[in-house]
Each structure stands twice: as C-alpha cells, then as structure tokens.
Amino acid sequence: MDLLDFAKGPALQVAAYILVAGSIWRLVGILLLKEKPDYSEPRQSGGLLAALKVIYTRSFTAAPFKRATMYPKMMAYVMHIGLFAVVFLFVPHIMFFEGFLGFEWPGLPNSVIFFLGVAAIVSGIALLVRRITNPVLRLISNFDDYFSWFVTVLPLVTGLLIPVRMGFRYETLLAIHILSVALLLTWLPFGKLGHTFLVFITRGTTGMVFERRGAKT
C-alpha cells in the first residue's frame, strides 16, 4: 500500500468515523441535558420558526455593530464562501462525493475555484494576523483557535499545491492533500470547528427563548 492508497483508504475512512462518532457524541452530550419548562406567558410564539429566523438573521450584522465588526466579518465571509466553493463546487470533489452519494451537481470552473481558494487562504491569514495582534483576541485565544485555523487552512494550501507540483509527483501531493483533509475531519468534532453544527443550536435556542419574549434577537 503506497501513501496515496493509505490516504484514500484507511486514513480517510478512520477520519470519517471519528468525524461522525465525535460529532454525535458532542451533540448528544449537549442535547441530552435536562430542560426545564418555561412557564412564563409568551408575548408571541417562539418554537421552531423563531429558531429558524435567528439561524438566518444572525448571519448578518446589526447596523450598530457594522463599523466595528466589518473587517473580521468580511474576512470570515470570504473564508467561509471560499471553503464552501472549494469543497463542494470543485469538479474533482463533486466526482469524489458522487462516488458514495450516487449523484452529482454542477461545479464551478477551475479558475474560479482557484481564485476562491486563494481568497480563502488570504482571508484566513488576515484573521490569524488579527488574532495575534488584537489585544482582545490575543487574550481570549487558546490552542484550539490556532490549531483549528491550521487544520482548516492546511487542506486549502495542499490542494492548491497539487497543480503547482514543484517537482513532486502528483500522487504524492494528492496523498498529502487527502491526509490534511483527514486531519481536518478528525479534529472537527472536538474543537471550535464544531460550530459547523453547533451554530444551529446556539442561534436556534436563543431565537426560541428571546422571540417568545418579543425581545430583540
């Protein structure tokens, strides 16, 4: 078994198992906590619609905070959009997903994916620089913040290096890329990258509680 076989096979498979098991464990640990009923008389209905509303609306910044948070928000948007496009709209990735999903969807031209990938890396670097230089972020940051950044940016970099080659074999570069993806999937459920799924719970529960009060969400 060469490196590429290992990356495509056991490495990716184990990472996927850890991703699923870790995510379920974390979600169950949170979702199974006891809930106390809220007996206060609601001003308006809360429920699922309120949760969905805030899951959507909190994607945008409220006017009073726009100026102060514009820069990190823009960088975060670019990074998230870039990541999404690279993962789900790059034709070779779509073919990979088709392998086990059984269906495909249209992708974006490689040049656009390349541009978005570079943009995601640049915005990631900008966010890292901010984390290191901003006194607030420096204080509140921990290992998770830096390691999560590393495992997110690494697959972008290793992916972009594949067409560049730099004297390496294609198979070697692809194997390194897949291994970096495996690292990302392995870490995702444990650290802050868990916001991939936790965001629906945090925003959703806030929506349910505060919407029923008629309070600002």
Partner: protein, 453 residues
C-alpha cells in the same frame, strides 16, 4: 516639613519613581476553605445547565466581537472587559468537568484548575464591570446570550461567598426585611399616606379583593416617592379596582442581581402570593428594569407553573390604557428622548410600549442613534450602581450615554426605570451634566386628562 501619609508604599523596584498601587479589593463572605469556594462556585454555575447554555459554552468562536458591543470595553479598551472573557473560568470548568469531552480534558490536563485567586479576580469582571445589559448578546455571530451566562456565573460566585460586599449587604437586607433599603411594610404605608396627602390622590392599601395589584421599588419609595402618587393617579384614572399590599409591595429583586436564587425566589413569591390572595388579574410592576425580568420572565419559573395573573410593566400598562382609551393625556409641546431600560426593552421585549405612550403625549420624539433595543446601558444595571468601588468605572462608561442623549438635542430625557434614574442622577451630579432624567410614568400622571363621568 510636611510628611506623606504613608498609606501607600514607595515602589523601589519600579523603573520610574512610583508608589505601589493600592491592592484591589476582593470581597469574601463566610469562612469556607478555598477548595469549598471553588466547588460551590462551579457546582452552582452548572447546576441549572441545559442544552442552550451548554451549547453556548461549547460554541464560542473566540471572535471577540462581543468586546465591540460592551460599554466597559468600548470606553476602556481593556481586553479583560470582553464579555465572553468574563465567563472564561466557568467555560474552562465546564469543558473540564461537564462538557461532552470532559474526560479527555481531564485525562490530558488540557484545562488548568481554577483557583480562588482566579475567582477573586473575576469578581470585578462579573459584578463591577457587567450590567447584564445583553448588548453583547446581539452582536455574537453564534447568538450566544453572554449576559445569561454571567447571571449563571453569579449564582456560583454567591454560593462561593465571592461577591462585592455592598451587593451582598443589600441582598441580605432585602432577604431579611423584604426590602433592599430596609423599608418595612409600615414605612411603606406611611409613605403612601404622605403621598396621598401631598398629591391629593386616593391610594388604596391592603384591599382584600382587587383586579390589579400594584407594587413599587424601594428606590422609588425612598428616593422618588412621588412615583407612588403617580402610580395611584394612573390606576385611579383607568377606573381600575386596584390596591397596594403591605404583604407584597417590593418589586426589586436583589436575590437575582447578587446571584442567590433562593432569595430571588422568596422575593418573587411574596408578590405572587399577594396577587393570588386578592384574586388579582394583573400585577403591575413599577418603573424598574430588573423587577420586570425577575417577575415577568422568571416569576412563573420560580412559582413552578404558569402565573394565574398577567404581569405588566407600568409602561406596558400605560400604553394599553392609552391605546384602549381608558386614560387620556394632554399633548406636550416639547422634544423628548427616551432611555430604554435594558431588561424592559432589549431583553424584555416591551420596547414599543414607551414609544406608544410618548406618541399619545404628542411629543417630538427624538430616538437616540441606535436607541431602542441597541441602546447603551446607563452603566448602573445588574447591581453595579450598588457597588461603590465600581463608581469610577461606571462614570467612565456613562460618557457613552451622555453622548447618545446629547446628540438628540431633545428638551427632555425620560425613562421608565428607577434604577437607571438613580444611576443617571448620580452621574449627572458627577459630571455636572445638564440633563436630568425624568420618569415616563410621572410625566403621564402629571398630564392626565380628567375623566368625564
């Protein structure tokens, strides 16, 4: 030759000639061991945990945006005042002791133990520099209600005997006497009688059966007693069958502010029992922000089932009475701006009520820039105005409020919270500021139109 007072020691190690800064005051109640304090703090922080709060502690991205929404950080640039940092110790303990991966954190020693020294340092962050105003909760991209977490952390701090002495004293007085200022039922009756004479208004007391139970805050009874008369005028004009009760008159809830849930419950139950006793359909809360949060949104949960009566803030009551024509007011020819009490508006959902009242008063209403739900807090909420050592910081923070008010160039400033009013009055005196905060309720009471019988 004159001598220095010797209270502060000369720092001979410093690079520049300097006197050692005075020690920061860390208050402690009780005589628990350090270990016991830590256990109490953490146990009472996590004991009411549910999916929502656990996901909050697990979901923080450390983006730091909450710092930009916090008046204490905005005015000082001190990173320690970043809202999410204020619960850092508790977040750390949650991950180490309770969270889904607590086992790994403990096994690998990934989160260090919290010490009493840490908790003492955090006393300043959880009490002196957080008004639980919830502005930070609105900027968080994850939607984390950081203010709610601060309240939970206060539960732990209280049990650990690590809260500011002033707040402890006021909360204790409240638990022992039923009023944070020690106002006895007889004193309240005396004040009500005085106001009835002074303002020539009927003030029913201890009526056995009534549709409406009205309650007051000690701050009003003590400092703004005209509020008692104003409440009576409005309820009389509405034609309500109503009463004050000596066995349930105090709306403030220092149990909630200090973090003692038993005292919080006891204070709420007094009002709930009194309302049930007289068969009230509505309990009208006074101009007090935290009283609204304590009873309107937490009261039923303290009671353990839905309340058999409606709970309204006085601004909601007035808006309803004006909208339905139960009372009428004269039009005022002036411009007014309005300070939203955080617990009534942003966190309580009654933002529109005051605006409805102002519309009926016919004023030229000048909304503050980013007012309403995004309003800057007065800086004195959450018990902060009680803590003397926090005064310099509170005054510093109040500058934001001053700027917000001054920009409107309104003739008058109104609000609907006696705690905010107290905080405004204090800061006004400190800065020799032109604006005096007025009461929305008193303004309505002074401008009621006679009922046509």
């Amino acid at each position: 030759m004159t001598t220095v007072d010797g209270r502060h020691e000369l720092d001979r190690e410093a690079e520049r000639l300097a006197y050692k800064p005075p020690e920061v005051r860390h208050d402690k109640q009780g005589d628990m061991s350090d270990e016991e304090r830590i256990n109490q703090a953490m146990h009472h922080f996590v004991k009411d945990f549910n999916t929502q709060t656990a996901s909050y502690l697990d979901g923080c991205l450390h983006c730091g945006m909450c710092a930009d929404a916090c008046h204490f950080h905005v005015r000082t640039d001190d990173p320690r005042y970043t809202p999410i940092w204020k619960i850092e110790l508790f977040k750390r303990t949650y991950k180490r002791q309770v969270g889904p991966f607590a086992f790994f954190y403990r096994l690998l020693g990934l989160k260090r133990h919290v010490t009493v020294a840490d908790l003492e340092e955090w006393q300043h962050l959880l009490y002196d520099s957080c008004t639980v105003c919830g502005r930070c909760s609105l900027v968080c991209p994850m939607g984390i209600d950081i203010a709610g977490l601060v309240s939970m952390a206060r539960h732990g701090m209280f049990k650990a005997g690590l809260i500011p002495h002033e707040l402890h004293e006021v909360a204790k007085t409240s638990a022992e006497t039923g009023s944070p200022l020690g106002i006895s039922p007889d004193k309240f009756e005396e004040r009500a009688e005085w106001m009835a004479d002074e303002h020539d208004v009927d003030i029913p007391m201890d009526v056995e059966k009534a549709d409406v139970l009205a309650v007051m805050s000690s701050i009003e009874i003590n400092k703004y007693p005209q509020s008692i008369a104003a409440t009576a005028k409005i309820l009389n004009a509405s034609g309500e069958s109503w009463t004050f009760r000596k066995d349930g008159f105090e709306a403030t809830n220092f149990g909630m502010l200090s973090g003692n849930t038993e005292w919080q419950k006891a204070a709420s139950m007094k009002l709930i029992d009194a309302a049930i006793k007289i068969g009230a359909k509505t309990l009208v809360l006074p101009e007090c922000g935290h009283a609204y949060m304590a009873l309107r949104w937490m009261g039923a949960n303290m009671y353990g089932k839905p309340l058999p009566f409606k709970v309204m803030h006085i601004s909601e009551y007035m808006a309803d009475a004006l909208n339905t024509g139960k009372i009428k007011v004269k039009k005022l020819n002036k411009s007014v701006t309005y300070h939203d009490p955080c617990q009534v508006s942003r966190r309580g959902g009654a933002t529109q009520a005051a605006r409805d009242v102002l519309k009926h008063l016919g004023v030229d209403f000048r909304e503050m820039e980013y007012g309403g739900d995004y309003n800057w807090c007065c800086g004195g909420g959450g018990g902060v105005v009680t803590i003397k050592r926090a005064d310099p910081l509170r005054h510093r923070v109040f500058k934001l409020k001053m700027d917000q008010v001054e920009k409107t160039e309104a003739d008058e400033l109104l609000s609907s919270c006696a705690n905010c009013r107290q905080s405004f009055d204090d800061s006004q005196a400190h800065f020799n500021w032109d604006y005096t905060m007025g009461s929305l309720m008193e303004t309505v009471a002074e401008n009621l139109e006679e009922r046509k019988s």
